[in-house]
């Protein structure tokens, strides 16, 4: 893309061409940082729902003065001929407006599936976090009616992930996102935009490249120029930064289990725990990435106690299975108490002789948690079992 930017710079400056982008990723603000890094200042539209329905990126498209597509992925010669061509007749430029929700509601009320999907699209794109639940409801009803509709599965998954990243997050949102993205991909395995969404959070063996390793380099270069890097809404982490691997590296270190006899008292609900398996199903010999998510329960007024010690997470894979690391140490926030999400990501390999069905990756977390900001602080253990589905 910067290649095209550089190649068209003289034409952009001379007003012979306008450059416009449409970004196909879950977190479009990351594209803002990318644009700042590469000093590209043309307008970019965000299409996280894949309304354009493209299956691959990058695509370079030439549009004439009337908005007609004249070429896709042109050669330099085609581009030159296009720029030099006489202008075609065209109507006036249109001033874009925010969609009128009432109009979409009215059309959807007629019951037509495409009108209901259009309503879900505008709610997910334009309604903000509070409209996501309605969008999810609409998409979910549509996939019930048409379970083979991959595009709606994809948009449903994307909306779940949008809600997961918002103040409206609900338990299970990330898991549902992955489930629907994976279902969409099963329905159309040639859809690389959808594939990348699963790979973004998936195991290293399935990664084409580290997705957001460029962020650190971009920030350093931007800061060195004396500019402030654009802040990101959601910081890339874990699988989003992980490098691809060609072979699974199992943890063969001697066991250093932190509570082998189970003596630490169990947490009765101060911390909520969730697990998300990516992809949701794996075949024998394949790997999955398990996202373990821990957050103090606001209803119990739970808070991490950061003055005592680190959180530990211990993994016990089923017989024949292996994990990349059995013991994880989770860092703490600087303030004495906090309530942030703590995430641990592990990779597990399904044995070659695993039978279709499922298995449980078990483990526990040990952490310091307080009952309220100034209440009693305790050291507690939370056991978990993560079901991993094995496909035939």
């Amino acid at each position: 893309m910067p290649g095209w930017h550089d190649a068209t710079l003289a034409d952009q400056r001379a007003g012979r061409i306008a450059v416009l982008g449409i970004v196909q990723e879950q977190h479009p603000d990351r594209a803002r940082l990318f644009m700042q890094w590469k000093r590209m200042d043309w307008p970019v539209l965000a299409d996280p729902l894949n309304l354009l329905e493209v299956k691959v990126v990058p695509l370079t498209v030439l549009l004439d003065e009337a908005g007609i597509v004249r070429a896709v992925n042109p050669s330099p010669e085609e581009y030159r001929a296009f720029v030099s061509a006489e202008p075609v007749a065209h109507g006036p430029a249109e001033r874009p407006r925010r969609p009128d929700f009432a109009e979409f509601e009215e059309r959807a009320a007629g019951g037509d599936a495409s009108a209901r999907r259009a309503l879900a699209d505008v709610l997910a794109l334009w309604g903000g976090p509070r409209a996501l639940s309605r969008a999810i409801e609409l998409y979910a009803a549509l996939v019930q009616e048409a379970p083979q509709d991959g595009m709606t599965h994809f948009r449903l998954g994307t909306s779940y992930r949008l809600r997961y990243d918002s103040p409206e997050a609900r338990p299970g949102d990330f898991e549902h996102a992955v489930e629907h993205w994976a279902r969409a991909l099963e329905l159309d395995p040639n859809q690389y935009i959808w594939r990348r969404r699963v790979q973004q959070y998936g195991p290293r063996l399935d990664k084409p490249y580290p997705f957001y390793d460029w962020v650190a380099e971009a920030r350093a270069e931007i800061a060195a120029r004396g500019e402030h890097p654009v802040p990101l809404q959601i910081e890339p982490a874990g699988a989003e930064l992980a490098r691809p691997a060609k072979a699974f590296a199992a943890d063969v270190s001697p066991p250093g289990e932190p509570d082998p006899e189970g003596k630490i008292h169990r947490d009765r609900g101060l911390v909520r725990a969730e697990a998300v398996v990516v992809p949701p199903r794996a075949r024998p010999g394949e790997t999955v990435r398990v996202h373990l998510l821990f957050r103090p329960d606001p209803e119990q007024d739970g808070h991490w106690n950061n003055e005592a010690g680190d959180m530990l997470v211990w993994l016990a894979p089923p017989p024949g299975w292996s994990v990349d690391r059995r013991l994880h140490v989770v860092g703490r926030a600087r303030e004495p108490v906090s309530d942030e999400l703590r995430a641990v990501e592990i990779e597990a390999r399904v044995p070659e002789d695993a039978r279709p069905g499922g298995a449980l990756v078990q483990g526990y977390a040990l952490y310091y948690v307080c009952e309220g900001r100034s209440g009693t602080c305790l050291y507690r253990r939370r056991d978990f079992q993560v079901p991993v589905r094995v496909a035939p």
């Binding site: 196909q24 990723e25 493209v54 990058p58 896709v72 249109e94 040639n190």
Partner: protein, 63 residues
């Protein structure tokens, strides 16, 4: 995408696209679908606001 600067990327994308319908709603000889999408600051934006100008549209992702 990854190799951001290279002609190779464009060639590979073209090959993949030529393999079957990968351009989605983008069809040579037809108008680009009428889309109003948020720009990176959340304001409404559309390719139709560039009518009257030649446009090079990049469909991309930062990864």
């Amino acid at each position: 995408m990854r190799a951001w600067g290279g002609g190779l990327v464009v060639l590979l994308a073209w090959t993949a696209a030529a393999a079957g319908g990968s351009w989605g709603r983008i069809e040579v000889g037809q108008p680009l679908p009428a889309l109003v999408l948020p720009d990176l600051h959340g304001a409404p934006a559309s390719p139709a606001q560039f009518r009257g100008r030649k446009v090079l549209l990049q469909v991309f992702a930062s990864w």
